[in-house]
């Protein structure tokens, strides 16, 4: 049963990479990158069960946090144009 889930995640990874390479705007690529992060976490967990050693799930937790940090760093750059911005003053929109 884990084989089926692994195959599904691999298929979705391939599709998401296609979008990341095609994506007309930077944000399309970011959507794909964020989803690839999620898929990588799930692949890690499923492969752990597939090989009978599901102890390495801590790394999945790290991946989830890193995924958020990476996405937010890029978005903060777009929002404020500067990574050092404190974010206190929101631009009006």
């Amino acid at each position: 049963m884990f084989v089926a889930a692994t195959l599904a995640i691999l298929v979705s990874l391939v599709l998401l990479v296609v979008r990341a390479l095609k994506g007309p705007t930077v944000f399309d690529r970011l959507v794909a990158a964020n989803s690839i992060g999620t898929a990588a976490i799930l692949l890690l967990a499923v492969v752990g069960f597939l090989t009978g050693r599901p102890e390495f799930l801590d790394i999945g937790i790290t991946y989830a946090l890193l995924n958020l940090i990476g996405t937010l760093a890029v978005l903060k750059y777009f929002r404020f144009g500067d990574l050092a911005h404190s974010g206190g003053e929101e631009p009006e929109d």
Partner: protein, 172 residues
């Protein structure tokens, strides 16, 4: 009992895998960023939720289940944050939502919504300058920024005002 758990986790894992593929397919097929975000969120909620539920059934009440719960919790909190920030940044950078009838939704949705490379300057137009620099914006940049920030506010009145006297849609 083991049989029931196995069948249940089979169903959950396969359903989760199906939702992952559907989500990735949606990310490929949807027309613009906002619709793709909508498709991508399927993987973060249903896909991840069902897959992790299936794995939790297989792991039983152990430390592994606790770790899986942690991963699920982080995903549930982080993916809405990332999605919200993504949509907001895309809107600020000037990516227009793709709509079927642009003339009905006012000026906010122009026909062009694909911005291949968003250059530095267009991004920074919407950014408030840091006060320590005097908060002064060069005249040329301010003029370019003015219509963009004003657009969402003016779009609503014009839409309601234009509604009675709306031109017939081109597509019919």
């Amino acid at each position: 009992m083991q049989m029931v758990i196995d069948i249940l986790s089979w169903v959950l894992l396969v359903a989760g895998g199906v939702f992952m593929v559907i989500s990735a397919f949606g990310v490929n097929r949807m027309p613009d960023v906002y619709a793709r975000l909508h498709a991508a969120s399927v993987a973060d909620t249903l896909g991840a939720g069902l897959l992790i539920a299936g794995m939790m059934l297989q792991a039983g009440p152990t430390l592994v289940t606790a770790k899986l719960v942690m991963i699920l919790a982080i995903l549930f909190f982080s993916s809405p944050v990332a999605g919200h920030a993504l949509a907001r940044a895309a809107l600020v950078a000037g990516v227009r939502p793709h709509v079927d009838h642009p003339e009905e939704s006012g000026e906010a949705c122009g026909p062009e919504f694909n911005v291949e490379a968003i250059p530095h300057e267009t991004v920074r137009e919407d950014v408030k300058l840091i006060p320590s620099l005097g908060g002064r914006r060069p005249a040329s940049r301010k003029a370019a920024a003015e219509p963009k920030t004003a657009k969402p506010k003016t779009s609503k009145p014009t839409r309601t005002a234009a509604k009675p006297a709306r031109k017939p849609a081109k597509k019919g």
